[in-house]
Symmetry: D2
Subunit: 461 residues, 4 copies
Amino acid sequence: MMTEHYITSSVTPLDNLDVLSPYEVARLQDKSQSGLYSLFRQCALAVLNCGSELDSTRKVLDRFHAFDVQISQKHRGVQLDLINAPATAFVDGELIQGIHEHLFAVLRDLLYVADKVESCCDGLDASSAITNQVFNLLRHANTLRPHVKPNMVVCWGGHSIASAEYEYTKYVGYELGLRGMNICTGCGPGAMKGPMKGATIAHSKQRIRDGRYVGVSEPGIIAAESPNPIVNELIIMPDIERRLEAFVRLGHGFVVFPGGVGTAEEIFYILGILLQEQNRKQPFPLIFTGPAGSEAYFDTVDRFIRATLGERATQCYRIIIDDAHGVAEAMREGLDEVTEYRKATGEAYHFNWQLHIPLALQQTFEPTHEAMYGLCLSRNQPDHTLAAQLRRALSGIVAGNVKEPGIRAIETHGPFELCGEANVIEALDQLLQAFVEQRRMKINHEEYEPCFRLATDSKAS
Amino acid sequence: MMTEHYITSSVTPLDNLDVLSPYEVARLQDKSQSGLYSLFRQCALAVLNCGSELDSTRKVLDRFHAFDVQISQKHRGVQLDLINAPATAFVDGELIQGIHEHLFAVLRDLLYVADKVESCCDGLDASSAITNQVFNLLRHANTLRPHVKPNMVVCWGGHSIASAEYEYTKYVGYELGLRGMNICTGCGPGAMKGPMKGATIAHSKQRIRDGRYVGVSEPGIIAAESPNPIVNELIIMPDIERRLEAFVRLGHGFVVFPGGVGTAEEIFYILGILLQEQNRKQPFPLIFTGPAGSEAYFDTVDRFIRATLGERATQCYRIIIDDAHGVAEAMREGLDEVTEYRKATGEAYHFNWQLHIPLALQQTFEPTHEAMYGLCLSRNQPDHTLAAQLRRALSGIVAGNVKEPGIRAIETHGPFELCGEANVIEALDQLLQAFVEQRRMKINHEEYEPCFRLATDSKAS
Amino acid sequence: MMTEHYITSSVTPLDNLDVLSPYEVARLQDKSQSGLYSLFRQCALAVLNCGSELDSTRKVLDRFHAFDVQISQKHRGVQLDLINAPATAFVDGELIQGIHEHLFAVLRDLLYVADKVESCCDGLDASSAITNQVFNLLRHANTLRPHVKPNMVVCWGGHSIASAEYEYTKYVGYELGLRGMNICTGCGPGAMKGPMKGATIAHSKQRIRDGRYVGVSEPGIIAAESPNPIVNELIIMPDIERRLEAFVRLGHGFVVFPGGVGTAEEIFYILGILLQEQNRKQPFPLIFTGPAGSEAYFDTVDRFIRATLGERATQCYRIIIDDAHGVAEAMREGLDEVTEYRKATGEAYHFNWQLHIPLALQQTFEPTHEAMYGLCLSRNQPDHTLAAQLRRALSGIVAGNVKEPGIRAIETHGPFELCGEANVIEALDQLLQAFVEQRRMKINHEEYEPCFRLATDSKAS
Amino acid sequence: MMTEHYITSSVTPLDNLDVLSPYEVARLQDKSQSGLYSLFRQCALAVLNCGSELDSTRKVLDRFHAFDVQISQKHRGVQLDLINAPATAFVDGELIQGIHEHLFAVLRDLLYVADKVESCCDGLDASSAITNQVFNLLRHANTLRPHVKPNMVVCWGGHSIASAEYEYTKYVGYELGLRGMNICTGCGPGAMKGPMKGATIAHSKQRIRDGRYVGVSEPGIIAAESPNPIVNELIIMPDIERRLEAFVRLGHGFVVFPGGVGTAEEIFYILGILLQEQNRKQPFPLIFTGPAGSEAYFDTVDRFIRATLGERATQCYRIIIDDAHGVAEAMREGLDEVTEYRKATGEAYHFNWQLHIPLALQQTFEPTHEAMYGLCLSRNQPDHTLAAQLRRALSGIVAGNVKEPGIRAIETHGPFELCGEANVIEALDQLLQAFVEQRRMKINHEEYEPCFRLATDSKAS
């Protein structure tokens, strides 16, 4: 309806996000390697580009190569000057308020992470130090609310799903919202937007004015999954592993909608945790759900889990098809159990300290060709360890599909090579094959070209 | 998904609606002719039945004949006991908060009207006294907000419209909401719900936490058009005429979506006002709009207006097809003009005192067979007078279709007889015929049987 | 420090008090007998004159004879133009916000009373109708807050008291405020201001942001006891009897500080109620208190009560000297009992419906010479009846001292004549004599000339 | 009225102060040298002891040697267990809310400072790094409010002043509060409490619900000047120099009431800044004021300034005696100039970045005997440099009077020795002599024994 064009505008923050020091302003303007400018520009653009259909960071950066963001101190606070910003972010020349807030959430988190880089954690081991950082970042973003009964439902699923699936995610969100639950997602479109939209309507009917629509992103994924403006708490974690940890420590219940490889990655991340002995006692509501017609996705995933991790892993989740009301009821019960457990164990409601996350799932995985090749894809190891390895394999495939450095690596060196035990590789092959057939690999299915090559590993056999 | 059943529950009001006197409680429990019990029960049921598809008051009352509402004073306030209430109003045994509020809005307005029945207006003429009552009722319901720039858009249209039309009303509401506008409707389903739903999402994106979704109803229509729970300000006017006056004095801009005879009635009511000489100078944004595929409705109405009131009347409105963005832009401009005019003339923003409404449009019209027969449907009178007569004719047809006393009258005495000048009657015939063909006469089209008979009037010729 | 002068200024209300109808604006501007102008001007002046030492309505009206208030509708609401208003109400040319609110509270209540004059109470007896009016007025002023545990302490006492007494009232208010109690007084200076000041500091320390400082006045007394601006809920009752009823139905506990005849009137009003058989079971915390050095006042009053009503009456109250902490502790216990009793009997927290007030104490008493002479001051009647008669006698003396019509009547016809049984008259004589000696009769003690003459009644003997 | 005793109780924070990590809880419980336990216990005790008259840290610690504070995580947040806490902090067994908040403000700031100790300020010089730390700490405490017109008035003066002086500070605070100004003090009793009390009443009359009563303290002084509970924003800076910098960067106007050596120290600190060439253009309202009868203090100080820094320094301040209204008017004008200047120079309202503070005034001064002896008290240096030296001398005397380490040093090594140019030393001698005579040296004047010895310096001559 509108021809695409660009808008140049100035915005000032509400609240106290505009209380910056000259030192911080300088960092944001610093275009050197150690400066924040380039990262801030990239995330700001992603936030402004929320209406777009592009799912590759590079395409976004290309289209808006003339975009710039400048920051200055005015006598009453900070001002951002947006140059050649996507017009879709504006209504009658005014930036949509939700996007406005997102811009400053990005600024807040990038500054915080930069400032804390060498932050002290004397006496903390590596794993605890990472968890502590995740906690500090979420607290600084004011995401942790004590004294509130567990009600945060994390929804995972594809950002590019079929229309019936999208409608179903809205309906599930509506039923969750009617029961006073809040929504946390990866904050892009599709399954990350639908539940928030449904919950918004439900919260309106229930007069819940402080409904929370939490979006957790990270610089590498934000351009491909621009936060939708309903998100009223946006958090930019420094990388994918901390983002995943934020989800599982913040959320009280988990719903997985149909998605692609990224969704499968999230499933293996969570299974890698739940299969830990230390986490066995903890109630952890995890529901896979989709509308009638989407059974195939969960069939595929379920089969792959059985084939690789074994039966035990299937006890961690429940599959409910085409029953939004049932999902909400099950989640209600699940949250009640979580509440009971936290009370009984003296655990905080606002952050799941008790969940044991092994260092292997916390450490940043750089999906280089070497690292991908080096993965140990064999059942000859504990199930949770294999889950962590599979999570990395899937993560690398996502990177090769949509993340800037991944795409570049593929362009240079050809597809990643993954090898492992024959059974595992075969299962992986079937999984990925099924995803391609179900058109779940990428938005533009026609031209999809796999970024990986599978090989039975001589190491593992 | 749920089998229909009943719930018995107790609710207490928030706020100060529970500060009732024993005298008021007694009135609400009074089952005598002069008591409020029966009216309160009927409206309470309508409010609780919001999810239902029934559009006849009688059907609603029949299905829920076992429903009862009892009121009592508890040490901390008032308590309502709902017996055999529609289960759809509850989630996990708790009344949906929006419906909860509606119950007490009904109570508030019925008590107010009852108390004020003989209220003093010494020295006011009949027309001013009615306007004063409308004002007092709206003020008492806290609907009038001074110091706020004109932003209230009244949306009219059918409660039973096609899916594409419903989606379109959502989209228009979304575009209005993005621009900070609030929505006021007759508060039922269809075109009365869609714009509120769209605006809710837009307000969420714009972080407008105090978005207003005003529903204006009256006891005779509420059962057929149960308020949807998004409505966060429900007002029950004492009758249809005061309800219409509330709309035009409260609203700053008007959007008409496709509807049926009720919508046409509203159009003729507003034309009867705008054609008054005194109102000529006042900017009054009035837009008829629908999606591609719904042009027929406005063609029909437009043709009927030209045939009866003449060309002049067509200058009062603008028809925009399939352009939600365009509607919002036009409304934005219209509201700016309204703001300018109110400022220039020293008029309040919150209530349009300047609008001249002739007594003929204010007086209650009881659509008896006699009254319907007595209408003067001839072009041999000023256009605004004819508009008022046609508004009554259409009002009677709505009553015969969905209102309890109307339906009963038709059952007893047969269809209403309408007669008038041949051209007018012919035009009316075509209008109603077209509505039947477009399936706009009633929800259940199959069994629709006209409640009227047209005849060229020997009086008028 | 400032020379007295006048300021002319315009003010607009906050909130929705500026949503007036043209009809209401006309009433406020109506200078005819039935119009509200003159009453409004008088009360507005009283409110604006809050810093003054004048305690006679006439003196106030004289000094500010050039004062005028005009009301007009502006496009965004109502505007009040204040002409030659007391400069003490302004800071740097801006009206003090508290006084600003008082102006519109006056407007609100005068309009409400005027509108309701003929209001319907079909089927209510005279006493219930008066109580209903008191309730309606308080509710309309938003003074009734349900769901709040009893915490409203009414403080009575002189508006012109010694410095040590004033400091003590502050200290008592501070101790009450520390315990979360709110304060309600007649809203003038002295004992009506001190407790509010103390409670303000205590509420600040306890972070109670919505502390309530309720002032209940009436047009006849407001000029002599201008509301102090700490009062954040001002209510203008139509007359002294409704004002007293408002106190006892609104308050949960009662503290009486030293005062003059007005305070004694309040004591006899409350005794006239508490001695009723129906009220015997109700807990009703009533504490007389003052600092060391003020024992004389309560000795005098206590002796007078014993001499007239007898010992039984002394069980209704408790005298605590020089122990602010003890007063607060006793009140805390008293309020707990009130809470228990209201819960047990299903009575509202926000309005004491159960308290039986005899019609004799509700009916307006016009202190004419005839009426004063006609009072029955004899012990040959039930104690509560005598209490009501004595309340009227004391009320008449207050009127003769400070109220405009009373003063005028005395000037014309000489002092009131009061006569009755020898013992009663003698006790009354001693009481009034002691008040004169204690300098409690009027601010300007030097020129005090009694407005009454006592005589042993041949009727009563 | 109450016999002194102890209370043991548990408190939980409101807000998000109870979102602590296990790591932070461990630090607070750590009784080792590097742990926070001992500092936290000391400050917590000071905060709880606010009603006391003791002005020596050691006396406080002695009386409450059995006091302990323990911290634990509960399932919903943090809990503090207070053991043998001063009973004066409680009302009916409940901690006064203001004190409650202060406890958690202490916790917040101690943790923040501890965490930031090694915080990065790459590329900042020493002076900027200190300013940056002050800024970060104030921002973290949510003290910086952008978009608010300059209205923060810092009040300095003695914590132990005569009754008439105390009343006067209340009156000045009242007049400032009536004009919408907020108050910032060192947050103890006396001149640090009076202005807040007066402003509280004024804010109540002006319906300013978010009046700010900011108290800035530091661990070394807090026990001697326990925050009064009116303070609704308490900040614990790490040391005296950062505390002083917080005052001057946060405040927009400055009022100095009579005080003792500490007040004189503050005066020389500010003169050391204002005499800097870079600060000459900046409007900086600085008013010395006291009631009639307190002229002597400012005479003494003024004479000392002239004798040491010279005439030029006297242009930095204005002395107003016994005119609270005049002080407020002058401050109003001063703030208007500040506002204009900040606007014109694009400076933030919330933090005075432009004020140049020389490193000499920022660096921590440890008042050892050696350091005191080493001060250069000669006029043979720029006036601002001498001001900085005199500020240190006075700071050392305060330490020797009331601070724990200072008192211990004096006990061990005898009085500090100060030496310098004859004229300066003589002037200093007169100043301190006059303070002793005016009884401004310590609360308990009788036993006052000087902690210093003056000697004309052979170095300087």
